[in-house]
Symmetry: none
Subunit: 360 residues, 2 copies
DNA sequence: GCTCGCTGTGCGAGCGCTATCATAAATGAT
DNA sequence: ATCATTTATGATAGCGCTCGCACAGCGAGC
């Protein structure tokens, strides 16, 4: 007599229905090995295949099984993420992206604060000593010479994110800051603005220079002479934006639009405008850069350049993983992602004459 | 008895030399299964056999491989973390905490976005179908009736975080919202404020009610009569804060301090105050709740209540793990963590005289 | 044309352990 | 003694994943 064993599920095992690498493989129509390669950011996978697999991963909500993975002998990577509070909105989005990607690949992320100052070297050295496999540097650390020097000297694979000019030794993820600033400025010009104020960012960050260049380029494109009294220096902080905006609006013939190098300073500009009784965008168009959470928090919501921050940090983790796991150093050491100009409520055509109330 | 020394393995290169159950079995002259039984203290092993095996274990200094064990056994947990972008700063901190704890316990975390809207049920159902063992719900999802209903109906163990009143079926992690609001209000009273405005939060979130209660309690403690004209309803958004603050400051005898139920609305209050030519904190004290990134972004930085977000999410993972591993529901189903009142620059003693509306 | 090398992909074999079931040995009942 | 029942042990088959290869395609060099 034969007892028929009860089989709860058609497929395998004694387990709960957690999707496995085989499920992903089946859905994507590839072998499990290929899925494994995608997860580990190895380089011998065609882009189209990689996309298909990633789609399947997303659809199944798959996450690799830790136990199986370490059993099977994968080396466990630990990546360091050093930050030095730039704008906290930026940081949080950055973290979300990198944590997400790290989770996908089951990589441990060691997040540590590293204030710029005299002991920054020590923080980096300690992190290296603790046996980290690679490091990710978001702004503003990505432009810190001393941090980079330590990392390069120790030959620790590093990815810098959103810097204007990455060192040759590091991989980099960025957007075209110059192009984005140029597009935004062009947008303002097309709206009819001729006197466009610009609040530049922290001069220690290379991206600041790029953005200013973009602004100047667009002006040149439209044959609008560059007026240096329309440019003030900021530091990317809200508070510096307050001063910069005040300075700009204090001028004899103030600008009809202000393009701030980031959202924090744009938000500060809106605050200053309001304090002065100016309507935004009626009396003053304000736009920012980054599309951070702040852009949609305040009112009016900011027209800004959307940087895919989360995607950038995700890409950083992926790139670093690839460099470490990939058999050879990858060729692609510099990835540029796309930005988008997002129109919201803080821009409008300039008023010709004293306020005529026009609906939309 | 004579135990033959273990011969080095001829096998693959990825072996790292740690003794395995097979080594023990060979040395003891039994099968791996018997060794496994000894290790797991099962009862169907003859004492003499057990002793031999134990001797072999001791000699080899064998320790079972954790990864292999959880792979083979059925006990690897997967926890779902559903979020619906509240504030990205909140989320990232939440993620850091839970990921950290999940890593410690060798547990997998599946993170998924679940926008509130008509397909929220579907997201939850999909997650359940994908074989999740338990779910963690940070705000605002922790107060979503429809999400909770699906989860409860499917009998999925759930931990809600930071809700005012957790459903009986769920475990919960929270801070004492009422106590925190009470402490903040008391702080304001001690500063000398008597007319304290309050902006309440989204009525759909239970924490809102708790905070209002705390405010009232502190007033009662100080024998200050509750004046409902000093309370306005907000929705936790910056924009709602704008309207609420305007309403409060429009009153005949406006408050000398405004306590907003979160930082976003407090920031809006600061903006409104500035627009009206009021100095913060000179003419108006403003304080918030949450200690989100915004609190230190704007100027002046906000005095607020700090919630230990990362610790709360860590605790959530830990609690859920306990509930799932221990077969029966644990006794402690509700954990309350400590908050801290953080003083920054947005509070001060009130001016003696009613604030003259002076344009700065 | 033919090797050579390369890249992208798949197959099969484990990683160390436990679940399941079969088997061998020991015990009891007839 | 025979058979049924209990106990002790082992063989086998995965858990979910990655490793070492093999192999198909494809352009370049002779």
């Amino acid at each position: 007599m034969s007892l028929t064993p009860r089989k709860p599920r058609a497929g395998s095992g004694r387990h709960n229905g957690a999707p496995t690498i085989a499920d992903v493989a089946a859905l994507a129509g590839v072998s499990t090995m290929t899925v494994s390669r995608v997860i580990n950011a190895e380089n011998n996978v065609r882009d189209s295949t990689r996309e298909t697999v990633n789609a399947a991963i997303g659809q199944l909500n798959y996450a690799p099984n830790r136990a199986a993975r370490s059993l099977a002998g994968a080396s466990h990577l630990r990546l360091g993420l050093l930050y030095s509070n730039p704008s906290s909105a930026y940081l949080s989005e950055f973290l979300v992206g990198s944590l997400d990607q790290a989770g996908r690949s089951d990589i441990q992320l060691v997040v540590e604060k590293c204030e710029l100052g005299d002991h920054e070297r020590r923080v980096v050295e300690r992190m290296i000593a603790s046996g980290i496999d690679g490091v990710i540097l978001p702004p503003p650390l990505c432009d810190s010479r001393s941090v980079l020097d330590v990392l390069i000297a120790a030959k620790v694979p590093t990815v810098v994110v959103a810097t204007g000019c990455p060192p040759a030794e590091c991989a980099a993820i960025s957007i075209d800051d110059r192009g984005a600033a140029r597009e935004m400025t062009r947008h303002l010009i097309e709206l009819g603005h001729a006197r466009i104020g610009f609040i530049s960012g922290n001069p220690n960050l290379t991206a600041s220079g790029q953005r200013l260049e973009g602004y100047r380029a667009a002006l040149a494109d439209a044959s609008i002479p560059f007026d240096e009294r329309l440019v003030t220096a900021g530091l990317f902080t809200y508070r510096s934006g307050l001063d910069a905006a005040d300075e700009l609006l204090e001028r004899d013939s103030p600008p009809s639009a202000i393009f701030a190098s980031n959202d924090d300073m744009a938000a500060a500009t809106v605050a200053v405008a309001h304090r002065r009784g100016l309507d935004v965008p009626g009396d003053l168009t304000v736009c920012g850069f980054d599309d951070s959470a702040l852009a949609t928090t305040i009112w009016p919501e900011l027209t800004t350049i959307h940087q895919p921050i989360a995607d950038m940090s995700r890409a950083a983790v992926e790139l670093l993983t690839g460099m470490l796991r990939g058999k050879r150093a990858a060729d692609v050491r510099h990835v540029t992602l796309d930005y988008t100009l997002i129109r919201r409520q803080s821009d409008a055509a300039p008023r010709r004459r004293p306020p005529a109330r026009v609906k939309k």
